[in-house]
Symmetry: C2
Subunit: 194 residues, 2 copies
């Protein structure tokens, strides 16, 4: 049966929300339309009233996840003063066991970057834009005078964050996993202060 315009919009939001989480958890290939719709409290047939295809959902859900990630970073960073403390807060949160164990609610770059590199179409551009936004937030917290130097180091810092999370999630040994997170955090803290 038809639903109100508001309900339709709510359903769409719910599908995007659920999809952005399940994609991050299980990968683009690891979760199907039917399960996403079920998780959103709907049946799979109605999916195509909201999205043109799974690829369309992949792009839009990724965009949403990246935007929410940037908003989350903003909350952690606050006004960004003092910068070293704000950067330390970001690193501590990002390189935590909690973040490692909650991929569905966590960083989209770390969770879906590899999946995206295997994808063709709109998602790859969406990812580049999402990545740029996060890199800029890191750059704003770095001490270098020159804008180019800040950006260069922001890219390196973010790479280390993403790589550490990917590695910490891949290994099965909890001691090694924690060691990876700690090593990356301490390495970046030491530099962030300099």
């Amino acid at each position: 049966m038809k639903v109100t315009r508001e309900q339709f919009a709510e359903h769409r939001e719910r599908i995007l929300e659920v999809a952005s989480s399940l994609f991050r958890e299980k990968g683009f290939d690891g979760i199907g339309i039917a399960d996403i719709m079920k998780a959103a409290g709907l049946t799979h047939g109605g999916f195509y009233r909201h999205f043109a295809s799974k690829d369309d959902l992949i792009d839009q859900a990724s965009r949403r996840a990246l935007l929410q990630g940037a908003a989350h970073w903003e909350r952690i960073i606050g006004d960004g003063n003092p910068a070293p403390a704000a950067l330390a807060r970001l690193l501590q949160t990002y390189l935590s066991e909690a973040h490692r164990d909650a991929s569905g609610k966590g960083c989209t770059i770390a969770a879906l970057g590899v999946d995206t590199s295997r994808q063709q179409g709109a998602v790859r551009k969406t990812f580049a834009q999402g990545l740029e936004a996060l890199v800029e937030k890191i750059a704003a917290l770095l001490p270098e005078r020159a804008r180019a130097a800040r950006r260069r180091r922001a890219l390196a810092v973010f790479a280390q964050m993403v790589g550490a999370l990917v590695m910490a999630r891949a290994v099965d040994d909890p001691v090694l996993s924690k060691e990876i997170l700690t090593a990356a955090a301490s390495g970046l803290d030491a530099r962030g202060a300099g």
Copy 2:
């Protein structure tokens, strides 16, 4: 028809070789048994004479890819003297556009780390062991006196390498992609020399 013992062993090697490459390129879910066997010059039916299941192949192909990766690193590093030059060589190779564009022949951690974190079973242990081996090779090139400090920084350095490769592959903008690789390389070079 039956084949000689040597041919059987060759076929097994060829399946592993092809699988280790195709998995890295397309992910564990992105390539099927039939296509792997076809790429190895065989038909899919014979697969189960060689491996118990796809999961079994995933584990064994990953192990092979990780071992070959370690061997490749050894060739790049050489005798490891002088250490800063050896580390610089490793970074230059790892963070090259060639490596970025050849995921099927490249680093298994960067290509399949995220896939592995979604997997359960033997692969995750295989990955932890493979990762340990690579980290040790980096640690041996670092200047820190204390073993623990070398290991800590080796983990951080490797995280940055992996993250940079993942990010460089995910974005569609070739300028940004190259920028990521360069930023990570210069960041690590500066520290490696210190």
